[in-house]
């Protein structure tokens, strides 16, 4: 494997976007084909990472490093470990799915739409592979711009409000993180923004953060990530953005963007600020549990299916955060796994909602009922995805939730018990909406003649359904790859916690 493989995967979509920039705007189908081709090629290039990834090495692999802005100690440094490997793959899988899903529904400004989709892919992959703080921040921020346009131009009724809210929320969080990054760099002797190097000097005792410094730096980082996750009560941008975004935007938003927050917590907050992590764990776990229950309860009373799925994300991401802050192997494994599960299941749910919307131009639950009859294939897939989202054994969601609860039980029984009731609530809202939409007689005559999924739509959903089963049955093949890196994060966390105490 060439050592610039990650760079290639990261910037190939941007290259495609540059090509589209100069493509005549009239050739809509050619534009779709180019975007699809580029994202598929990116997927093809990224797939070999999975077998080539060395399970026995918990550190960074496929690394590449080059000077970028030497006068400020900034390098172009990329690499992946068991934590980011799957998030990169999740991104490269979901992008072509998202592009294919909007084949018919996007008919205006086709060129610009695909241009932003591809730019977004570069930004998302970049966030997961960047190992230099400055580089990470650049991807983190730059990715906002295409997402902002996707929501704002191709979104629903209140798209402008949602787009601006999305941008501003993230921006407020991330500027404070920027200061924390600069502060960390200055405290470390103002020589480098390289994350592994800073971590190393922390372990060597060359960089010693006082409890006060840890406290504030942790908060600055965590605030940025918590907005992105989104952790209750910072979640209010999410329902707006999800509901107003076009289907493909929601898929990417739920599938990948939210993971950037939890990824950031695992990658940066835990290893860099172990003491502060311990200090805030009870508080954050509480917020996570509140989010689980709150998200589920609000989801239950929604009349709009897309809103329901959006609030279910708040609940699911609460699980992920709870798993991370269990601060043990099971919890962290579960959290990592659940991040992927949520990306796939919620992505698939948004796709299904989008397909309904394409047919009926409404997403209100009351408008539907008895869809099993006219839409058998749709209903079957919806069943699988709903069950995966609930966490039925043999499907992907079960593994993640089970591990999280296991870890959480070890850490704090009360929270684990409350969170477990969140699992029940998720079954309630999911099965209830399924029943109201799919079962029974066709109540609305306009639903009687609906056409079932066509070939393209089946193709869109197929990879996700395959992954739902694969990750549910052979979870070991995924967990094994994460194992080393997850243990290392915890090891770093524990060893530096010990150093701090002495």
């Amino acid at each position: 494997m060439p050592h610039s493989i990650l760079t290639l995967i990261t910037f190939l979509p941007a290259g495609g976007a540059a090509l589209l920039l100069f493509w005549p705007r009239t050739g809509a189908s050619a534009i779709r084909n180019i975007a699809m081709g580029v994202s598929l090629l990116t997927l093809l290039l990224s797939l070999p990472l999975f077998p080539a990834f060395d399970t026995s090495n918990p550190g960074m692999q496929f690394e590449q490093s080059a000077a970028w802005i030497p006068s400020l100690g900034i390098r172009y440094h990329v690499g992946i470990d068991g934590i980011s490997l799957f998030l990169v793959l999740l991104t490269t899988v979901l992008t072509p799915v998202a592009i294919l899903s909007s084949w018919k529904s996007i008919q205006t400004k086709v060129r610009e739409y695909h241009l932003f989709m591809l730019l977004l892919e570069t930004g998302m992959i970049g966030v997961f592979v960047a190992l230099d703080f400055f580089l990470f921040y650049v991807f983190w921020e730059v990715m906002l711009v295409p997402m902002y346009f996707l929501i704002g131009v191709w979104g629903g009724q209140r798209r402008i409000y949602a787009a601006v809210k999305f941008f501003l929320y993230t921006m407020v969080g991330s500027v404070l993180m920027l200061l924390a990054i600069i502060a960390l760099y200055l405290l470390n002797g103002a020589t480098t923004f390289d994350f592994p190097a800073i971590l190393e000097s922390l372990h060597q005792g060359n960089l010693i953060l006082s409890p006060g410094q840890q406290h504030w730096l942790f908060l600055a980082f965590f605030f940025a990530f918590a907005i992105k996750v989104p952790l209750f009560p910072l979640h209010t941008w999410l329902p707006d953005a999800h509901v107003e975004a076009p289907t493909a935007g929601s898929v990417v938003l739920a599938g990948v963007l939210l993971k950037m927050g939890t990824y950031g917590i695992v990658r940066f907050c835990l290893p860099l600020f172990p003491e502060a992590t311990r200090e805030f764990t009870p508080f954050i776990s509480l917020l996570a549990v509140v989010g689980i229950i709150y998200g589920a309860l609000v989801a239950m009373v929604q009349t709009d299916i897309k809103k329901l799925v959006a609030y279910s994300s708040v609940s699911h991401l609460g699980f992920v955060v709870l798993g991370i802050f269990a601060l043990n192997e099971q919890g962290l494994h579960g959290a990592m796994y659940q991040m992927l599960n949520h990306g796939i299941s919620t992505g698939a749910l948004f796709l299904l909602v989008g397909m309904l919307y394409d047919r009926r131009h409404t997403r209100l639950i009351d408008e539907f009922g008895g869809l099993a009859d006219p839409l058998p294939v749709f209903s079957a897939i919806f069943m699988i995805v709903a069950l995966s989202s609930i966490g039925l054994p043999m499907l992907n969601g079960f593994v993640g939730e089970f591990l999280i609860l296991l870890g959480a039980f070890d850490a704090d029984r009360t929270y684990a018990v409350i969170a477990a009731s969140g699992v029940i609530l998720s079954a309630v809202y999911m099965l209830w909406v399924y029943q109201r939409v799919v079962f029974g007689q066709v109540t609305n005559p306009r639903n009687r003649r609906l056409l079932d999924l066509d070939f393209r739509e089946k193709l869109v959903l197929l990879p996700l359904v395959v992954l739902i089963f694969w990750m549910g049955i052979y979870s070991e093949s995924f967990l094994r790859k994460m194992d080393g890196s997850v243990s290392q994060v915890l090891q770093h966390f524990r060893s530096s916690a010990v150093v701090m105490k002495h």
């Binding site: 006068s71 730059v142 402008i160 601006v164 921006m171 407020v172 500027v175 760099y185 103002a190």
Partner: protein
């Protein structure tokens, strides 16, 4: 001494060249037939190119000349180049504007050259009186440029307002200079610094003098609470001159402020630091918050330029080399984005500067994608989104601020930068997310305006993605700077 004076003339070749060409343009304008008067633009550009050659020839010089009145060092050379860039872009942007609005191109370009002379002298002054002379040269040229649309009431209002407030602030400054002279018996910056350090100066007088000088410069660079003239003046001025005013005199004012405070009055400056801090905070907040509610884009950019003065003031407050280097980087890159943005505003406003409201941008994104994309880049850069020079500049400033332990100033700064995103995005929202009106008329482009926009975009991306060279250059320009 007299013999060596002639040898020192090359140190001010740039200013001599600009003045000679400026006068030549004025003369030609009188003698040439009307149809050939647009040649003034070419001559002005040639003058700036020649001046750039002279200025670059000074690189490596370090010392004072003309009995200590002129200082040539990395700092002043960097600034002179900045002013030439500002001047070249203004000349280019003005040429098509002057044609469209039926203004006298020759006068216009000659006055821009004279304004650059003033700014250059300010940057190279080592002496309070020289600073004042440079400032007045700049000011008189700007008074005329602001009011050059003689039949336009708003342009007249802008010129009159700037003239009255400008004279007012000059008076403050002169009073400050007089007090400083009274306390130290000299107007030479280094000599003042030595006198104060030796303890032979009356400190009460010095404190008052520094306060008065800060007020005077505060007017020129438009920091709160001396900013009230800015929106009216920028709104009424011919648009290329609004662009020029928001970057050129501002950069010159800050440069001189830094030099005066750090060379002549370091001790007194420490006393005033709290006020500079407060002024920076207020400037950022007032600029950004008032910009949020503007519907006229020229006024919005005016408040945005106040906010940016606040960020630059953060760099001034750091009082170290890194802060001064950040100031140099920021003023140059800010010039590119603001002139770029104003140039597009000027094009979109059509003849007579009529369409300057936000709604006039509806649908521009898909009607004229190139123009809208360029404006988006300028606005994102002003907002400080990564990969633009605006981000690199802010990064540099906040890094310097944190290094000097101004943690709260940095926090307030970045939060302001987040606030500012809202109003810059508003323009992008209107361009891309609102439909064009039915009576849409295309924006007429001109080759000179395209050149300004293209150069600005290239500069912003170059210094945004690969800022290393400019950062190193800015840093090496302030070596030895106290």
């Amino acid at each position: 001494m007299d013999g060596s004076l002639a040898l020192e003339i090359p140190q001010i070749f740039p200013e001599i060249a600009l003045s000679v060409f400026g006068i030549a343009i004025l003369l030609l304008d009188t003698f040439l037939p009307k149809s050939k008067r647009h040649a003034a633009t070419g001559i002005a550009l040639a003058a700036i190119a020649l001046t750039a050659v002279f200025t670059l020839g000074l690189v490596g010089e370090d010392g004072t000349f003309f009995s200590g009145m002129i200082v040539v060092d990395g700092f002043s050379i960097f600034l002179r180049i900045t002013f030439l860039v500002v001047g070249a872009l203004t000349v280019l942007a003005s040429s098509s504007y002057a044609t469209r609005e039926n203004l006298a191109v020759g006068e216009f370009q000659a006055l821009v050259l004279f304004a650059i002379v003033g700014m250059n002298l300010m940057a190279a002054s080592n002496e309070l009186i020289m600073i004042f002379l440079g400032l007045e040269t700049l000011s008189i040229a700007s008074y005329i440029l602001l009011g050059i649309k003689r039949s336009d009431a708003k342009s007249n209002e802008a010129a009159l307002k700037y003239f009255l407030l400008g004279s007012f602030s000059s008076a403050f400054m002169l009073y400050g200079i007089a007090l400083a002279y009274g306390a130290t018996r000299t107007t030479n910056l280094e000599a003042i610094g030595r006198e104060i350090a030796a303890g032979s100066a009356g400190m009460t007088l010095i404190y008052v003098a520094v306060g008065l000088l800060f007020v005077g410069f505060g007017f020129k660079v438009a920091v709160v609470p001396f900013h009230v003239w800015t929106p009216d003046v920028y709104e009424g001025a011919p648009t290329p001159i609004s662009a020029f005013m928001s970057v050129g005199p501002k950069a010159a004012g800050f440069a001189v402020l830094v030099r005066v405070l750090m060379v002549a009055f370091p001790a007194a400056y420490a006393k005033w630091l709290g006020l500079v801090w407060l002024s920076a905070v207020l400037t950022m907040f007032v600029g950004n918050c008032v910009a949020l509610v503007q519907s006229n884009i020229k006024r919005m950019l005016a408040y945005s330029s106040i906010a940016h003065a606040g960020y630059i003031l953060v760099a001034v407050a750091t009082r170290n080399q890194e802060g001064v280097a950040a100031l140099l980087f920021y003023t140059l890159t800010y010039a590119l984005m603001n002139i770029g943005a104003f140039t597009i505003v000027s094009l979109v406003s059509r003849q007579g500067d009529r369409k300057t409201y936000l709604d006039d941008y509806a649908g521009l994104g898909f009607k004229q994608p190139g123009l809208a994309a360029a404006l988006s880049i300028f606005l994102l850069s002003l907002a400080g989104i990564p990969l633009t020079a605006g981000f690199a500049g802010k990064f540099f400033i906040f890094r310097a601020a944190l290094e000097s332990k101004f943690v709260w100033l940095a926090i307030i700064g970045v939060l302001n930068s987040a606030i500012s995103v809202y109003y810059y995005l508003r323009v992008i929202v209107v361009m891309y997310m609102k439909e064009a009106p039915d009576d849409w008329s295309p924006v007429a482009m001109s080759s000179s305006a395209i050149a300004v926009i293209a150069l600005s975009v290239l500069g912003i991306l170059q210094f945004g993605i690969f800022p290393d060279m400019l950062i190193s250059l800015a840093r090496s320009s302030v070596i030895g700077y106290r």
